[in-house]
């Protein structure tokens, strides 16, 4: 059986919220041993972000938001502000390959865990920091979550129904894209270590990852003197393209005709053969009229029917899958994308599965998101080399814990 690519790589995961945990989710799926480290005093806020509708004894162990991005990880709780917690962490560092963190830029230094301290513990360490604005340059004191990153990166200026009103993406887009780049940074660091024996220090700025995704606009700006304006759902060149209502409450499809032939097929299908021969320039000039024609055709149709007949006619089209319909999408179902992961503290539900299908190594979700501090003893004894008595002492001093007690949400 082929091994997973990161089999044998140990990652100390100090990340919280979404950007970092999304990175370490992917890293865990690819076979790394991911040890998620939280403090009994400062846990991953995602565990308790969303108010719950059900009463459970330990809500921090069964939050669906947390469960979505923290499978295939172990949980260790260490108060890094306490000297004994910091010492235990450095022992873990000495026996690990990667440290990844997405704290605010000043936090690691305030904890006494500067880059020099970490590399003194392990010179071949791959250290990936992923603060919102990096740790240098002048913007590092800015505070930001995904939408702030999207704004400040230039990306949001490219989105909108109208050119002069920017529109944010409906998810905190800056977070997961930074996480993906961080996975690349970890992989490059491990490659470098295997090739040279040297460690790596990566000062990833989440905002730069998003700006990188706006790069084509910079090329246009250089060439024409202006970045391309937002065009809503329309395409800057071909036509028609748009989002059209179909039968059902708030149900929509998109249609995107990239050439004359696709438009001709679309026009025939919607009963407007009289428009089929319109050249591109005229389709662009009469876009509102074509939108109305497509919308009139689609309005009484079921979304799947509309998409199926458009695709059968050779027209690019798709359903705007919402949070209900995406769970029942026949294609995702056929590919087995949504999976149920047994977790005795949660009701069965379907979560997103592995997106990177290495068809031979076959990564899977092997463990639900860890309960708070569930692996304290095992990891601190086997990786940090602490004795049973030393672990017990950490527990007695509140430096490790497996409960949060009374917590507030938000």
């Amino acid at each position: 059986v082929k091994r997973l690519p990161l089999d044998g790589v140990r990652v100390l995961d100090l990340t919280m919220m979404w950007a970092g945990p999304y990175a370490t989710r992917m890293i865990g799926e690819m076979g790394a041993e991911v040890v998620k480290i939280e403090s009994p005093k400062a846990w991953d806020n995602i565990r308790t972000l969303m108010p719950r509708t059900e009463v459970v004894d330990d809500p921090w162990n069964s939050a669906y938001y947390f469960a979505e991005y923290n499978h295939n990880k172990k949980s260790v709780t260490l108060d890094l502000a306490a000297p004994a917690g910091r010492d235990a962490f450095l022992k873990l560092v000495a026996n690990s390959d990667v440290v990844i963190e997405n704290y605010r830029a000043d936090v690691m230094g305030n904890l006494g865990l500067t880059d020099d301290v970490l590399f003194a513990a392990n010179p071949a360490l791959v250290l990936v920091s992923m603060a919102g604005f990096g740790k240098s340059g002048g913007d590092q004191d800015n505070v930001g979550y995904g939408p702030i990153i999207e704004m400040m990166s230039g990306l949001m200026s490219l989105s909108g129904y109208e050119a002069d009103v920017p529109q944010k993406t409906g998810i905190s887009y800056g977070d997961p894209v930074a996480g993906l780049a961080a996975v690349g940074a970890v992989a490059l660091g491990v490659i470098k270590k295997r090739r040279t024996g040297k460690g790596s220090r990566v000062d990833l700025a989440q905002v730069e990852v998003s700006t990188k995704l706006a790069g084509v606009a910079f090329a246009a700006l250089n060439r024409t003197g202006a970045a391309p304006p937002a065009t809503g759902n329309r395409h800057p060149t071909w036509a028609p393209q748009g989002c059209y209502a179909v039968r059902g409450e708030d149900q929509w499809i998109v249609v995107s005709c990239t050439d004359d032939a696709e438009w001709a097929a679309c026009a025939e299908l919607i009963g407007r053969a009289d428009l089929a021969a319109l050249p591109l320039a005229e389709r662009r000039a009469r876009h509102d009229e074509l939108d109305a024609a497509i919308g009139a055709w689609s309005a009484p149709l079921d979304a799947r029917v509309a998409v199926d007949v458009l695709q059968a006619a050779g027209v690019p089209a798709g359903r705007v899958l919402d949070m209900r319909t995406i769970k029942d999408d026949p294609h995702l179902y056929a590919r087995g994308f949504w999976v149920r992961i047994p977790n005795e503290k949660m009701r069965p539900y379907r979560k997103s599965g592995v997106a990177w299908r290495l068809l031979e190594a076959n990564p899977t979700i092997t463990a639900h998101a860890p309960y708070f501090g569930a692996d304290n003893h095992a990891v601190l004894t086997s990786v940090a080399g602490l004795s049973d008595d030393e672990v017990a002492a950490l527990a007695a001093e509140g430096i490790i814990a497996d409960t949060l007690g009374d917590v507030s949400y938000g």
Binding site: L4, P5, L6, G8, V9, N45, Y64, E68, F119, A120, V128, V143, G144, G146, I148, M151, G154, S157, S159, G160, Q167, K168, G170, I171, S172, A181, R194, K198, R201, V202, E208, L213, A214, G215, V216, N222, N233, Q241, C243, V254, S256, T258, A317, V320, L321, M323, R324, H331, L332, F337, M346, Y349, R350, K351, S352, G353, A355, W356, S408, G410
Partner: protein, 360 residues
């Protein structure tokens, strides 16, 4: 010791040979990032990009005409194939390439993956974006769903593919055998729906698009000179209230009342505050108050943004200033405009690998 460890100038993918097939934005972005970190990328055929896309993404690559049956010789000398072709394209499939060349990491990037009922669907960026779930969450509730600008479905697929490919290369270095990676851009997006898909499945809580201001303390607002935003979680609410000059009263502090009964009142305060300030003033308030405040910047704003210059973010080349490395910490190649070259040139430059018998 610590100073030796990190380094930062070595190209981590130096010597890794990559073949880009089929072109397109997703494959182009993936192989652009591989090229930046040192890989030798050969693009087979015209990539089907616009002038600006080609300028941005084809830098540092060599381009050859489709070599017909000789493609096998190129593949034999490569380590990675980034395959952006449709599943029903002419030529050997990604699986057939992988079977013929067990050493290769083959990354196939398609809108819907290599199999399944929609695998052969025709998909543009907006079709892919719509199928990934993010579009349903984007835009104003009283208007249609909205795509995020800048062809993000395809670029996101390329970013996923880059991360997956470099990860698979770690395994290939160890096991001396590659893998076939089936990247479905629909699944890539569906794996990053924040809490929204799970909320429906677990709590029957339907999250719908909520525009620029889903909550008073989490939104985008007009300012004196453009647009800016605030994103405050519960622990940042006190700082937000202080900034707005509001009392720490229960209706603002309570996480449920704040988003229900007090939502309109708080939103009015934020709206007025934003309208009375410039973007620069608002951004400057963030660090001192530990408050997530930001402004909507444009590419024009960013071209001369000092922190990006100080951090060496940009590539300055023949096509002007373009975003460069996505993260520092490794060497990033000087990416010259794409070079048109011949099959013989590529095979000649890669002959050491072919002669060394890496090919099956």
């Amino acid at each position: 010791m610590a100073q030796d460890a990190p380094g930062g100038d070595e190209l981590p993918l130096d010597g890794i040979r990559v073949v880009e097939l089929g072109g397109g934005l997703a494959a182009g972005y993936c192989s652009h990032l591989l090229a930046g970190y040192g890989a030798d990328v050969v693009q087979v055929g015209e990539p089907g990009l616009t002038e600006d896309e080609d300028t941005y993404l084809s830098r540092g690559k060599r381009r050859i005409a489709p070599p017909g049956a000789s493609l096998d010789r190129v593949l034999a000398a490569a380590a990675v194939v980034v395959d952006g072709r449709r599943v029903d394209a002419d030529g050997p499939t990604a699986g057939e390439i992988r079977a013929a060349h067990p050493h290769l990491v083959v990354t196939a990037i398609t809108p819907f993956g290599l199999d399944g009922p929609h695998a052969a669907h025709k998909a543009t960026n907006i079709v892919t974006f719509a199928n990934g779930g993010i579009m349903a969450l984007t835009g104003e509730r009283e208007r249609s769903p909205l795509q995020t600008g800048g062809d993000q479905a395809f670029l996101l697929g390329g970013l996923h593919a880059f991360a997956a490919t470099t990860t698979a290369l770690v395994g290939a270095l160890l096991q001396e055998e590659g893998d076939l990676i089936d990247i479905s851009m629909q699944e890539c997006a569906s794996s990053m729906l924040e809490y929204c898909a799970a909320a429906w499945e677990y709590e029957s809580l339907l999250i719908e698009r909520s525009g620029n201001t889903p909550r008073a303390e989490w939104g985008v607002y007009q300012t004196l000179d453009g647009w800016a935003g605030v994103c405050a979680l519960g622990r940042q609410i006190p700082a937000l209230l202080d900034t707005l000059g509001l009392p720490h009263e229960d209706r603002f502090m309570d996480p449920v009342i704040r988003v229900t009964d007090a939502k309109d009142e708080l939103m009015a305060h934020v709206l007025v505050f934003m309208l009375e300030h410039t973007k620069a003033e608002l951004v400057a308030l963030g660090p001192s108050n530990k408050l997530p405040l930001g402004a909507v910047r444009t590419p024009e704003d960013l071209l001369a943004h000092p922190p990006l210059e100080v951090r060496g973010f940009f590539d300055d080349g023949a096509a002007g200033r373009l975003p460069g490395r996505p993260f520092p910490g490794f060497g990033w190649a000087a990416l010259a405009p794409v070079t048109e070259t011949s099959l013989d040139d590529v095979l000649g430059s890669w002959s050491d690998v072919a002669a060394a018998g890496v090919a099956p």
